[in-house]
């Protein structure tokens, strides 16, 4: 689990607005107001299949690795997704840095 203490990542606001855009654009109930406590199933009418498509959109749109089912299973609100994507972006970033360092060290 990534620590959520300390200053928030500079791109957290950007992540939030992009997540809102994707979740809103894919929502079966299209005209709902979006907030961090908006519920995906109860408020936006997502069903299990649409949630899979949303997972694919988040992975692809944010350039993330595969989001494991165990991580997506606990998501119920828009705020949960913002946190999940923020965390996954940090992990992807860290992964890339490690790979870059290893590539540099191997030279």
């Amino acid at each position: 689990m990534t620590s959520s203490t300390g200053t928030s990542s500079p791109n957290e606001d950007e992540t939030r607005s992009k997540v809102y855009a994707v979740v809103g654009a894919m929502a079966p109930a299209g005209d709902a107001t979006l907030a961090d406590d908006t519920r995906l199933i109860a408020d936006l009418a997502y069903d299990s299949l649409r949630l899979i498509e949303l997972t694919l959109a988040l992975e692809e749109g944010f350039g993330l690795g595969e989001l494991a089912q165990e991580r997506t299973a606990t998501v119920t609100t828009l705020g949960d997704i913002v946190r999940l994507v923020t965390e996954a972006r940090r992990e992807t970033e860290a992964q890339r840095e490690t790979e870059a360092r290893q590539a540099g060290a191997g030279r």
Binding site: A21, A25, M26, P28, S48, L54, A57, E60, G61, G65
Partner: protein, 384 residues
């Protein structure tokens, strides 16, 4: 006119429970509907039962005394119910094991306690798929044949039915009804909830899943919800004849070849190919298809390999109504209804399209190879 019976229906808000409740109420019986989260009984066609036609009792079969206050439970047990119709069950796949245990197994144990306490005859609704992965002809008189059960759902329903048998040996009077895969109305195709086989149909016809490990000779048995409810009603009415017996409420067996042929009649539909399980490798699927395969199709995979056939001679002996004769015709009725309601035929915009609209495809995006390539998902088709 049959005598007016005092009947408790568990799971009365569910798909089968609601239809059974509606029929028992229409027949003039005094029905108490045990409901969990719902406060009304809605028929399969979406119309609610008149509130004063039925007594709704909020309860919870997972709890002792069905989660009822002591007084309410004692009233049911002591006052004498003429029948208990036990429909409450979890039929969704892929939930944690403890959910099936709590609702399907413990729930049945709690209902049996009430039947024992009140001396009430029990009509237990199980599933034909307690047969697990047995192939060939499945008889109503068979339960434990040493079969492998494919998932926690089947396992829980098998154990629930075993509990009923045990209680019967101890003097509880019971009849068991085993529906197969419950789907829409025989004549109209109408269904209230799109679950299980409908989800598979949706993924397949939208081309989200293009190859499925399975055999064209495998058979799935679809049964109309109204037929199941009719059989439950008939067994409830004629309990003296039905007691101690098991009844398959099964419908029209369809091979996967039959499914493919019907799907191919609909121009907008993709038709999946069934590939030999031994030559199927999920890891070779494109990410997109693999996500759907892993999260949904794996739950149903075992059903695409079975060549099960259900004998229903007990039901044929007792019931006046018979199931659909032509499975393919019935499947067309079901699909036509899904097209009318928009469940099938018009998939909502996919991830790629949404991202393109939002200008979110670009350098940051993960390349998803084969996503749009029509040949991409044929990797597992070669061994067909």
């Amino acid at each position: 006119m049959t005598e007016r019976l005092r009947i408790l229906v568990t799971g009365a808000a569910g798909l089968v429970g609601a239809e059974a409740t509606a029929r028992l109420v229409a027949a003039g019986h005094q029905v108490t509907a045990l409901v969990h989260n719902q406060t009304a009984v809605i028929r399969n066609d979406g119309t609610p039962l008149e509130p004063d036609a039925v007594t709704c009792l909020p309860g919870d079969v997972t709890k002792p005394r069905l989660g009822l206050p002591e007084a309410a439970y004692q009233a049911l047990a002591a006052d004498g119910l003429d029948r208990i119709v036990h429909c409450a069950a979890i039929t969704d796949f892929g939930l944690p094991d403890e959910v099936y245990q709590a609702v399907n197994v413990d729930g049945t144990a709690h209902v049996l306690e009430l039947a024992r306490a009140g001396g009430a005859p029990l009509v237990h609704v199980g599933t034909a798929y307690v047969c697990g992965e047995r192939d060939g002809l499945i008889r109503e008189s068979e339960l434990d044949e040493g079969q492998r059960l494919a998932n926690a759902y089947e396992d829980s329903k098998f154990r629930a039915e075993a509990l009923v048998h045990k209680a019967q040996a101890d003097g509880v009077r019971a009849a068991i009804i085993r529906p197969s895969i419950v789907v829409g109305d025989e004549r109209t195709g109408v269904v209230r909830d799109y679950k299980n086989i409908y989800v598979v149909l949706k993924l397949a016809t939208e081309g989200k899943v293009r190859s499925i490990p399975g055999q064209y000779e495998a058979r799935l048995d679809l049964v109309p919800v109204d037929y199941v409810a009719d059989i439950i009603t008939e067994v409830t009415h004629r309990f003296e004849e039905a007691a101690g017996r098991t009844f398959h409420a099964v419908g029209a067996p369809l091979t996967l070849r039959d499914f493919s042929d019907v799907m191919a009649e609909y121009p907008p539909f993709h038709v999946p190919r069934f590939v030999p399980p031994t030559s199927f490798d999920a890891q070779r699927l494109p990410r997109r298809e693999r996500a759907y395969y892993e999260r949904v199709m794996t739950l149903y995979e075992s059903y695409f390999r079975r060549r099960t056939r259900f004998d229903d001679s007990h039901t044929a002996d007792l019931a006046t109504r018979r199931p659909p004769v032509d499975g393919q015709d019935f499947l067309r009725t079901l699909i036509d209804h899904c097209l009318e309601t928009g469940y099938l035929g018009a998939p909502p915009v996919d991830a790629t399209e949404v991202l393109a609209r939002l200008n979110m495809t670009g350098p940051g995006a993960t390349p998803t190879a084969n996503r749009t390539s029509p040949t991409g998902s044929d990797v597992n088709g070669a061994g067909r």
